[in-house]
């Protein structure tokens, strides 16, 4: 069973730490997404796995082999680059077969594998063309094909869809998903787009400033973010994060009291960040307003069709509420309730999850 493992991996560029003490065990055959904003270290980590960047400290293993000091070509990996990196002076067929040719594979075998891959990716008609005659989507598929032909153990993809327009991106996302199911090899996919992460990943690794924030399946991360950063990163519209303090068994804002979720132990009077997703906030009719609800002063109404996003003031802070289509208008005052079982509690200082 081959996995990709990173043990205590650091990467320094001079005095700057790009990747800090990363330890990961990625499952065999799964599609793992490294997710995070630019500069968070996800691409650097990917390149270290590929062997294109050296490791300052730590080990990298592919399967049982310690590949930390091996050349990229000896690691049995294949890579798809953001800008496709197709060889401009070679035809599509030559691009696909180049890796095998260098390794001295017989011409007949190369032709067979190229035919196979091009059939899988719909490239059969394009084999004699050159990259500059291809569209973005076609180039993307050739880049994928190049990796496929090599039949490597691990596939590394560095933001492969970010150069495509929105519609093509959705299409290619599906194709990558199906491709992965088909070939069953381990894939590591780097992106800053959380939608790609949520739809494609078996497991997500969220990184920030070189540090791994959380590792888990998409739904795990969505349902239980381990810190404020992850909470705000995953989910559209963004999760609300309100400043409150612990008071008795409840949470006190500036002017309202909300009941705390059951069974959580918080130090009294501790400052907290309370998170709740916009679609979990409940709008109650005025008649049901009571001490457990608060008031939303509506500022902005974004009518999205089936749903409406209301943005306004709540307890002196901003609150976003996603409701089924509503007739609310700016200036309205609505009663809203924050159900205790939907709350995520984080320590205001460290950002870490408390409950």
């Amino acid at each position: 069973m081959s996995t990709v493992s990173l043990e205590g991996v650091w990467k320094r560029f001079g005095d700057v730490v790009a990747v800090r003490d990363v330890g990961l065990q990625l499952p065999h055959g799964g599609l793992t997404v490294f997710l995070g904003p630019s500069g968070c270290g996800k691409t650097t980590t990917l390149r270290m796995i590929a062997g294109l960047e050296s490791v300052s400290e730590g080990r990298i293993l592919i399967g049982e082999r310690d590949v930390t000091w091996l050349d990229p070509k000896d690691r049995n990996i294949a890579m798809v680059f953001q800008n496709y990196a197709l060889y401009p002076h070679k035809t599509v067929a030559e691009n696909l077969g180049f890796g095998l040719k260098i390794r001295g594979v017989a011409a007949a075998e190369i032709a067979a594998r190229v035919a196979n891959a091009s059939q899988l990716l719909g490239l059969a008609d394009l084999l004699e063309r050159r990259p500059k005659q291809l569209s973005g989507g076609q180039m993307q598929r050739v880049a994928l094909g190049r990796a496929l032909v090599r039949d490597a153990e691990v596939f590394l993809l560095d933001e492969p869809l970010s150069n495509l327009d929105a519609k093509l991106r959705v299409q290619m996302r599906e194709e990558i998903y199906k491709l992965h199911r088909r070939i069953g090899k381990s894939m590591i996919y780097v992106t800053h787009d959380q939608i790609e992460a949520m739809t494609l990943a078996d497991g997500i690794v969220i990184m920030r400033d070189g540090v791994v924030q959380q590792v888990g399946s998409p739904l795990e991360i969505f349902d239980r973010p381990t810190n404020v950063y992850v909470a705000g990163f995953i989910g559209t519209p963004e999760m609300n994060l309100l400043d409150m303090r612990a008071a008795g068994g409840n949470l006190a804002g500036a002017s309202c009291i909300v009941s705390a979720p059951a069974g959580c132990a918080i130090a009294p009077d501790a400052p907290l960040k309370v998170g709740i997703r916009p679609d979990h906030v409940v709008v109650v009719p005025d008649s049901e307003a009571d001490s457990s609800s608060g008031w939303l002063e509506v500022d902005v109404c974004e009518h999205l069709g089936t749903t409406t996003l209301l943005i306004g003031g709540f307890d002196g802070q901003r609150l976003r509420v996603l409701t089924p289509r509503s007739n609310a208008r700016p200036g309205d005052r609505l009663a809203v309730r924050l159900p205790a079982d939907r709350l995520h509690l984080f320590d205001a200082g460290s950002g870490e999850r408390i409950h």
Binding site: G51, E53, S54, T68, W69, L70, D71
Partner: protein, 304 residues
Amino acid sequence: MAAALAGPASWTARRDRDLVRGLAPALVVLAGLTVVPGIYLVLTSLTPLNLASPGSEWDFSRPLGNYVGMFEDPRFVHSVGVQIKLSVASVVLQLLIGLGVALLLHPNTTVRQLARSWMLVPMVLPPIVVGITWLALFTVDISPIHKFLAWIGLPMAPLLTNASTAIWAIVLAGTWQHFPFAMLMALAALQMVPENPIEAARIDGASRWQVFWHVRLPFIAPTLVVAGLFILIDSVKAFPLIFIMTDGGPGEATEVTNFYVYRQAFSFSLWGYGSAIAVLMMTGVFVLSWVIDRITTRNDGQWS
């Protein structure tokens, strides 16, 4: 890189090692052919080396003798004056004419695109050929230009034999030869001026001149500065034209510093002295090259 010696090396380290191996032969050749002669030049400049007097090459008794003597040598000082005239005139004329022609050739019509190629001819001609051509053109009995001027009633005196005009004749020939360089650089810079500010200026009602002065010129100014520096350095090397057209004369009217060194070394065999002047020139070239390097590398970072 230190880890490469101590333990296993990474791909990047191995790649660097391969690259250095590719660079090494060139560095060896360059070192042998530039550093070694350079050191020798400096050493020679500290001696009163005269090929005619044996033993003078090891005479280090007055190491700075040549350098001091330079500033007391009226002929040297005069040559610097001539050099300054040549250099300043070259830079100014070549930049102005080069820029002017570039502006004329900037629009993309077929005629102008063809013209861009033809305009290169003066720049690639062997300097000696330029020299003999202009020598003919400046010789009154022969030159069609002189004949034409006489024919329309504006006869001109011979320029090369007159001490006060000889240097300007050289400047004219040199400008003809080298203006395409400034033209090429200005053209390339003009092609890179972005369209948006120009359109915005036109919408604001700017005239063609105003568009040039306020939008294009600031953009191409750095390129012009670098071009000017290159022209300046090149003007210090002026030799073939002077050799063929005036031989430094009449008298010493066209004897620029570079030519003076040639005289010192090859007519008077004063190699020590010649070396000292050459060292001085090299220092100037080094400083100007350093300035160019500074400017262009900063620009590279800005434009990427």
